[in-house]
């Protein structure tokens, strides 16, 4: 398990992927990450389908939460991107709720956080980057490259500044993906480490019970913190996508 006789704590073993669903899963390599992605997608669809089914003028709880989600993402898009933001609303909504449900499902025991793998977050981040670049090119054509030369700078600095601007534009892929990946991975590693502390301390006998109880309390608080970070990171990913789309559509 996590603590092998107080030699070392196996913090990263929880992220290994194995095929699930028996022989059918093993043949196509359908892992826990895939299963959780399917569950997250189905949950979002269920929230919207069953939430909007009553169509009441005064909404009940489920309809109110579905409408709240719609309203939050719509105001995020329109406030950040402007009136053209309505075009990008389906994409930002999908992105926000996929990441949100992915992060939140990982907090439950025996479930898996698919956003704690760099490949998943890198795929999402590359998708956002390509979308933003294609939107900018479609909107402004070759004038897009004037984005890398800010106005009002001395002409002598221009070559250096263009290189810096291009590098910082390309680094959006890395920063967007590593932010989400590192937050999720670090949270779960901390839960695993403090959980291993509980076992290791309680194994010391009578003296170890009090520190083990303290570690248990800390683990409980950490799960609350994990919930906050889950929602916050999904919000940050979505709002940064909106900010990049604003840059793509306007200041070029």
């Amino acid at each position: 398990m996590a603590a092998e006789g107080s030699n070392s704590i196996d913090a990263l073993g929880q992220f290994q992927l194995h095929p699930v669903l028996g022989a059918l899963g093993a043949s196509v390599n359908f892992t826990q990450a895939n299963l959780m992605m399917v569950v997250a997608g189905l949950l979002v669809l269920c929230l919207l389908w069953f939430g909007m089914k009553p169509r009441a003028m005064v909404p009940g709880r489920l309809q109110a939460s579905a409408e709240l989600g719609y309203e939050a993402v719509m105001s995020m898009c329109v406030d950040t991107i402007g009136p053209e933001g309505r075009k990008f609303f389906p994409f930002v909504f999908t992105l926000f709720f996929f990441i949100l449900f992915g992060n939140l499902l990982g907090v439950f025991p025996l479930f898996f956080t698919f956003t704690s793998h760099i490949m998943v977050t890198l795929a999402l981040s590359v998708f956002v980057f390509l979308l933003v670049t294609v939107v900018a090119l479609k909107e402004h054509g070759l004038h897009f490259f004037s984005y890398f030369l800010p106005e009002g700078i001395p002409i002598a600095l221009a070559p250096l500044l263009v290189v810096i601007e291009v590098i910082s534009y390309l680094s959006r892929i890395i920063s967007l993906s590593v932010r989400l990946f590192a937050n999720m991975m670090a949270g779960h590693v901390m839960l695993e480490v403090f959980g291993a502390f509980i076992i290791m301390l309680a194994g010391l006998g009578f003296l170890g019970y009090v520190p083990a109880a303290l570690s248990f309390g800390l683990n409980t608080i950490l799960i609350g913190f994990e919930l906050l970070v889950a929602v916050l990171q999904a919000y940050v990913f979505a709002i940064l996508t909106c900010i990049y789309l604003h840059d793509a559509v306007h200041l070029h």
Partner: protein, 74 residues
Amino acid sequence: MDLASAKMIGAGLAVIALAGVGVGIGNIFGSLVTSVARNPAARDRVFGLAILGFALTEAVALYALVIAFIILFV
């Protein structure tokens, strides 16, 4: 010095960056408190920006953590 000890020392050095991140996050929420004290009506507008700034600064802390993990485990 063998490789395992060097890895531990390297990982410990990598997280010195968290000092800067602590200063940054304190700065953000300090200025949030000051600005709400000056103008309590602006609280809802400034709070969203403060949370965004906090998440972006925390990301730098986690970049340092990722480097420490790479040094330790890769």
